[in-house]
Symmetry: C2
Subunit: 506 residues, 2 copies
């Protein structure tokens, strides 16, 4: 080995461990490491690591043999990618500054309103990844328990916009369509974007991955094309084709939101203010001017009653207007899945069937996508409602929407057919009767247990709709999985929850 200069009291040599921990940065040091001794670091201490002008706050674990030497800092992938050293480079380790904004999190927990400055400080610290998972969980729980009012929500949204990049467009009307979620399937976005872009609108659609659902639009699109586009490529696609269907995460729009969503998913909580801030911050940062918002309502959807939907719609419009955004709510039927597939590839198959005018295309998905596209043409292109409906249908029936969709996929990196799952099993009716109720939440959970969205071809395909007559033994839905273990796990869950699909006496 060549001679190296001796290390200072805060210095360690970087070692890449290839350790996957999602986005949470970890560092592993030797128990006898001089830096731990001089700084008093113990297991689970938060440690700030610096290399050149980059820094990251990581959670420390300590080890007593083998993996790292006493002068090494073993970095997880998330930490390594923030610091970008070379193997063996000298990095510095120190106590992170106390996170002052945590006192505002505690104040919120205890029921106090937060000022715009306090929210900006929290969001800035989160975007800089200074919060540990436990601290993020406390922030999420705080606003779940002590809901933000509209002023706080607008301030939170604004802070989230400021935490990331903002995109500007040459067009002065920039349209967007979004669904607040909670309904399995319901993958209208790719169809609506294809129709709107084919009609000449600018629709730079960026979507999230699933939060608590079996698939987000980005998960679905990723089964057909690349969605992880850097900003300049995304802009080029839109400038050339009028639209795109990208993942928002790589665009660095409202990055604090992505970090919050990761822990929200683990906690399985959704809150209205965070929903509004999450949706609208992405839209403002993406440079949108007109946003159509699908709000499905049903007893087991995210929004359960028309009254709740009215409040949410009002709050979305109100916070949007504070941020200079024209928001139109579209309240829709959320009593059962839209389309047949639930899960990334299964929903992609539905989308393609509609765009291709295939005979097996789910009629409910087609008609809802057409209605939304017409609303968007009316809102953003100022076309008369009747004319907008006709135009949307023409663009879909003529194949113009399919052509546009394929152009967008090609521009994003090429189109591929969505994959099929290697394992499947049919779930059948235990008794004869009529399909009286479909529990969207239990259904979504079953699709997730089958592996969706991480396992892209996993999920389920509906074989019945509300009101259908079935005989005992008739198929209700088919489960798809990439491993037998996951299918078994979903089956056990379904067996324990007979009311996933309720059959009433014939």
């Amino acid at each position: 080995m060549s001679e190296s200069p001796p290390l200072g009291s805060h210095q360690l040599r970087a070692r890449r461990l290839g350790l996957e921990s999602q986005t949470e940065p970890l560092v592993i040091m030797h128990k006898n490491c001089p830096v731990c001794r001089s700084e008093g670091f113990r297991a689970k201490s938060r440690v700030e690591l610096r290399f050149n002008d980059r820094s990251v706050v990581a959670t420390l674990y300590q080890i007593d043999d083998g993996l790292v030497a006493e002068d090494q800092a073993g970095l997880s992938e998330a930490a390594w990618k923030k610091l970008l050293p070379n193997e063996g480079d000298v990095i510095e380790a120190a106590h992170p500054l106390a996170i002052e904004s945590l006192s505002a999190v505690r104040a919120k927990l205890y029921g106090r309103r937060l000022s715009a400055d306090q929210l900006a400080a929290i969001v800035t610290d989160i975007a800089a990844e200074r919060y540990s998972d436990v601290e993020l969980a406390a922030f999420i729980a705080a606003y779940a328990a002590q809901p933000f009012d509209l002023l706080e929500t607008a301030a939170l949204t604004d802070a989230m916009v400021s935490s990331g990049k903002r995109i500007t467009w040459s067009s002065c009307v920039v349209a967007d369509k979004h669904c607040v979620g909670g309904l399995p399937g319901n993958r209208t976005t790719p169809i609506v974007v294809a129709i709107a872009a084919a009609a000449g609108l600018t629709v730079p659609k960026s979507s999230s991955r699933a939060i608590t659902s079996p698939a987000g639009t980005a998960d679905v699109m990723e089964t057909m094309t690349e969605v992880d586009l850097p900003l300049n490529r995304m802009k080029a696609v839109v400038e050339q084709h009028g639209g795109c269907l990208a993942w928002g995460g790589s665009l660095e729009l409202s990055p604090a939101d992505d970090i919050i969503i990761r822990v929200e998913r683990a906690l399985d909580v959704d809150c209205e203010a965070q929903l509004i801030a999450s949706v609208l911050s992405k839209k403002v940062a993406a440079g949108s001017t007109h946003v159509l918002l699908d709000i499905p309502v049903g007893p087991t959807a995210k929004v359960r009653t028309p009254e709740e939907a009215d409040v949410l719609a009002h709050n979305l419009v109100s916070v949007g207007s504070k941020l200079g955004l024209i928001v139109r709510p579209y309240i829709s039927d959320g009593s059962q899945p839209v389309g047949r597939g639930v899960g990334p590839a299964l929903e992609a198959q539905d989308v393609l069937a509609v765009l291709r005018n295939a005979p097996e295309a789910p009629e409910d998905l087609r008609s809802k996508a057409l209605a939304l596209a017409a609303e968007l043409l009316n809102l953003a292109a100022d076309i008369d409602p009747d004319e907008a409906r006709e135009k949307a249908r023409d663009l879909l029936d003529s194949g113009a929407a399919l052509k546009k969709f394929m152009e967008i996929c090609e521009a994003q990196g090429g189109f591929t057919e969505p994959p099929s799952a290697p394992f499947q099993t049919v779930v059948t009716a235990r008794e004869s009767g009529r399909v009286a109720a479909i529990d969207n939440r239990l259904l979504a959970r079953a699709a997730k247990l089958a592996g969706a969205p991480e396992a892209r071809s996993a999920g389920l395909r509906m074989r019945v709709r509300l009101g259908d007559a079935v005989l005992a033994g008739d198929p209700l839905f088919t489960l798809y999985g990439e491993t037998e273990g996951e299918i078994d796990y979903a089956l056990a869950y379904i067996a324990a929850n007979a009311d996933v699909i309720a059959i009433s006496a014939p």
Copy 2:
């Protein structure tokens, strides 16, 4: 290598990593591990590991080289100690059952009352270490934001008692003394226990380590003797000497509480219901019948006003009586530290000075300990108040309390003098005047930054009290640390918070 039977699809070989992660169980598997592939495990999945009749739910990280082979599960110390395999033993890995009690946590977040059954289910799952840190944070945040009422608090306390062992004693009166905390120093417990035991009471005192403070009684006692006693040794000490001063953690009393406290410490939140449940569950489980509770009140103590203290006192008495415990609150002055030391060894030095009737013994600590001891003799031994005061003083002045304290330390494993810190620095007054206010919270934080309680000799020693006249440059307190880095860190914090000790114009 000898031939081994092939592994089943859920099986891995245990590998001890020597990885310290506090009490959080971790498992590291290879990215291409067949169990991960068949079960769909990803980084940060929760995985249930089983060996013989033992099991543990661990957080998964994945690695792509070196550390673990594809058929190995690398276990952190916390996971290893729950499973107790031998190196290379075959363990099973599976999806943990969904934690049903998390829906009650979410219900609490959203403001609903919890039933005794729901609380019992939550506490049982926590005691079995089924909750991840993020889930624990959500539970803690939920009751911080939506305080438990007295019925919920009593149910929580009862559930915590049921989660662990219960101790029984031959004596029908079992006394205890506890401080709700929040005041630096204030280490009366060892003195009170020594006096009460010398008076013939049964005082099986088990204490916690610091939650958010620079030292708990167990941390202080640990600088002088062993505190980590198994139950049978603790009982033997008490049967022989009438009292003990042990750490509660090793007694497996109310183990759910210890798990909750670890995450509460990271979040730096304290809540009344959790405080009551934590204190009273330990007392009930320890077999106490009469409990004296010191409640210091001051603008920067945990309890800030006499009104708050009255409410807390009432709630402690009320919940105690639901559990068959006689609780007597003792509301005391919390405007400044009691004694001079803040930090484990520094407080131990104060305790010894009082017990030894040394000339440098802090008078405030002596008089408060005497008053509490007299209260306890009155409460539990039914001695008239005046007589109780005289008896307590006699036992201290005669050396009987010191003798009892030394007997207890010897019985717990031998007495040693508390250590001194290798580094110290004096913090001086910036201007002349009178000591107008002492901020207990900032002072506690400075002591913690100096390394307390993990660094046992770290902390600070007060050189002034409220009302003292000081000249610019006079010492206010001395900082002690085991590393220069920690002292520097505490100094930087003090420099940024000039109001740790406020000096009014002369």
